[in-house]
């Protein structure tokens, strides 16, 4: 078993809104292991970003604890927390909104060094900034450019460089590629992968795009309205979906292939309001298997198979139905993407070159 780096215990965040208390994150428990990527998926507003922020203490939890390296960081004073701050960083969804438009690339990347007084002279800092830019594949000539002059992919690289500046061990990736085009998205995903290997990083990867999450994650958490409904190894989750919501979610994912027939499970209702929810299964309103118990009691998250957790009263009974609903979707007779080898003789550019984009000279 890998070493646990970070743990959320009964982590809870309620927001005060006009209608009452909005249960953004409601008593969630999970662990993140050293060196792994934990994926977090769920529909818009289910509390993914809030969870990420709570882990980094960018938001103060309503209750519950975050344990980092065995230390309960929620209880630390701001001063004591400082040294943990440098170990945990975040990369945001919108690379434009997350960069101060009035600061140049160099200034943005330098800021964490400056604030945390990592170096005490400007020359060292400048050297480190160049180094970081190099690491994420930003050409040195972009040093004094402003974010608005750059494209989304490069902007996101700045965000990554800033996060790396403090040599963190853990990075929350809050939908870091959802604002990017597919081709750029692939560049960034590859870059993150390389960085993880190079610096032994631990990731929490938040996304609503299941294919992306699947691609990057070792384990996946599925959230629904502030609670975890299912949690498992990535492959395990895709092969054995236990929660009706996960089933629907995975079945609804459009597959870019004409050879895989998917039959999406169409959920009836809409997502219900997270404000003052009742003690009931939060998915009950949209669930095809709903029974009386679902309306009376909120199901606990329990480990149904080793390492595979689910919060559904009737998870056991549903296992069989799964294969019927998404019949045959897991086998792929042909390779889904045809290699254009008949036409194009030579292989395209090497992976590394692609990943590092055009201006990179990252060490291989």
């Amino acid at each position: 078993m890998k070493k646990v780096m970070l743990e959320a215990r009964e982590l809870t965040k309620y927001f005060d809104v006009p209608g009452g208390k909005l249960h953004a994150v409601d008593k969630v428990n999970f662990q993140i292991h050293e060196g792994e990527t934990l994926g977090l998926v769920g529909e818009s507003g289910c509390g993914k970003s809030t969870t990420g922020r709570l882990l980094l203490r960018l938001l103060e939890p309503t209750s519950g604890d975050v344990i980092f390296d065995g230390v309960n960081i929620t209880k630390l004073s701001q001063r004591e927390f400082r040294k943990y701050r440098t170990q945990m960083q975040i990369v945001f969804q919108d690379p434009y909104a997350s960069l101060n438009p009035r600061m140049s690339v160099a200034e943005i990347i330098e800021e964490p060094l400056l604030i945390n007084k990592i170096y005490n002279n400007a020359a060292d800092r400048a050297k480190r900034v160049k180094e970081l830019m190099d690491t994420v594949g930003l050409a040195p000539r972009l040093l004094n450019v402003y974010p608005h002059e750059l494209d989304g992919g490069r902007r996101q690289r700045i965000g990554i460089a800033r996060a790396l500046a403090l040599k963190p061990r853990f990075i929350v990736q809050d939908e870091p590629v959802s604002a990017l085009d597919v081709s750029i998205q692939a560049q960034i995903l590859n870059l993150m992968d390389d960085l993880q290997d190079e610096f032994q990083l631990t990731y929490m990867f938040i996304s609503h795009d299941l294919s992306v999450v699947k691609h990057v994650s070792d384990r996946i958490i599925v959230m629904y309205l502030g609670v975890i409904v299912e949690m498992a190894e990535s492959q395990e989750l895709f092969e054995r979906r236990l929660h009706p919501y996960t089933k629907a979610l995975l079945s609804a994912l459009p597959v870019p292939s004409v050879d895989i027939e998917t039959e999406p499970i169409i959920l009836k209702g809409e997502i219900t309001s997270p404000i003052n929810p009742k003690n009931a299964c939060r998915f009950a309103g949209r669930c095809a298997y709903r029974q009386d118990l679902c309306d009376q009691q909120q199901p606990e998250l329990r480990e149904l198979h080793p390492g595979h957790w689910v919060a559904c009263h009737f998870a056991e009974n549903l296992v069989q139905t799964e294969d019927i609903v998404v019949g045959g979707s897991l086998s792929h007779p042909d390779s889904t993407v045809t290699k254009p080898s008949q036409v194009i003789e030579e292989e395209p550019v090497t992976e590394v070159e692609q990943a590092k984009s055009e201006e990179s000279n990252i060490s291989k």
């Binding site: 597919v182 459009p254 870019p256 042909d334 194009i344 990943a355």
Partner: protein, 327 residues
């Protein structure tokens, strides 16, 4: 081919004239849409998908937009040169459109019912009561109880709003439905609902559809034909299965390799190198050549013509010389 296209775009050029320069949003674009078919229009941000759709209804905002040349033939009539009044009889009646973001495409201060009724009143010679009735029916058709006729868009969830937009666009039973990324703003489960609904309605109303998206998964799900757009023009156009199984254009191939696939465990993705070109300063020759792994000298100087590879598959790429029919 004996089937005549319902709508045909020929050599269309659309420019946006801005302070920063002239954006060549559409360059020599050709496209056909046949009766009853669903055509997927795929491309990255800024490829010109929305502009194409707007040009089809002559709704390109002017200024700054301008249809520079080309034709949009609807049943043989050129919409580009049609009188505004005649055009209005077509818009919303024979050709209608669903926009990307349901949150902003509904008027926030009008009830959803009235917004559906508006189109009906405009195009069908019925009195108010009948129109209201029809609007209510349309609501039911898209799965919203008609009691909610008098509610306002903000009282609806995103999926329901998109369904209202669909109801508006289908209310006059159009022959062509243009859907501009109709589900991009929605969650996957809701997207599935909406796509299902659209599909059912398409069959029920026998509508031809242009489905604009950047999601190849969605295309695989709902389209019959696919057109891949790059920098303002369609670079590959094929029947869906042909395109997915044997993509020809290097860009199309690159696109497929960039996307992670849930059903395959790929260690690394293979991104297309580089970025979309600056639309105010397009590369000479084939606009894709700077990023193309197979770029040849000719690619830098000459814009490739359409090459018909097979019956329902054409491509614009110098790798496939115009004369040499492959299949």
């Amino acid at each position: 081919m004996t089937k005549k296209p319902l709508l045909e775009i020929k050599n269309l050029h659309v420019h946006y004239i801005t302070n920063e320069g002239t954006v060549q949003a559409i360059n020599d674009l050709n496209l056909e849409l046949y009766p009853g078919e669903t055509l997927g229009l795929v491309g990255e941000t800024g490829a010109g998908k929305t502009t194409t759709a707007l040009a089809m209804m002559r709704l390109v905002p002017n200024p700054p937009g301008k249809i520079v040349s080309g034709e949009v033939l609807y049943k043989g009539k050129n919409l580009v040169e049609m009188k505004e009044a005649d055009l209005r009889k077509i818009r919303g009646n024979q050709i209608s459109m669903i926009f990307q973001d349901p949150m902003t495409s509904l008027n926030p201060i009008m009830t959803v019912g009235d917004q559906i009724r508006e189109g009906i009143m405009l195009h069908q010679k019925v009195d108010k009561a009948t129109a209201t009735k029809r609007a209510m029916d349309m609501l039911e058709v898209v799965g919203i109880p008609m009691e909610r006729y008098d509610e306002y868009p903000h009282q609806f969830s995103g999926g329901m709003k998109q369904r209202v937009v669909i109801a508006i666009s289908l209310s006059c039973n159009p022959e062509i439905l243009i859907a501009d990324e109709p589900t991009t703003a929605l969650d996957v489960t809701i997207q599935a609902q909406v796509l299902q609904l659209m599909e059912n309605l398409k069959v029920e109303f026998d509508t031809s559809m242009l489905m604009i998206t950047h999601d190849l998964g969605v295309v695989a799900k709902v389209c019959d034909h696919v057109a891949i757009m790059y920098a303002g023009t369609v670079i590959e156009h094929a029947q869906k299965h042909k395109l997915y199984r044997t993509p020809k254009h290097p860009y199309t191939i690159g696109l497929f390799e960039s996307i992670p696939n849930v059903h395959e465990t790929t260690e690394r993705l293979k991104p297309i190198i580089g970025l979309m070109p600056d639309p105010t300063d397009l590369p000479t020759g084939c606009t894709f050549h700077p990023r193309c792994p197979h770029a040849m000298d000719i690619c830098k100087v000459e814009f490739p013509e359409v090459t018909h590879l097979s019956d329902e598959h054409w491509v614009r790429c110098h790798l496939y010389p115009a004369d040499k029919e492959v299949e």
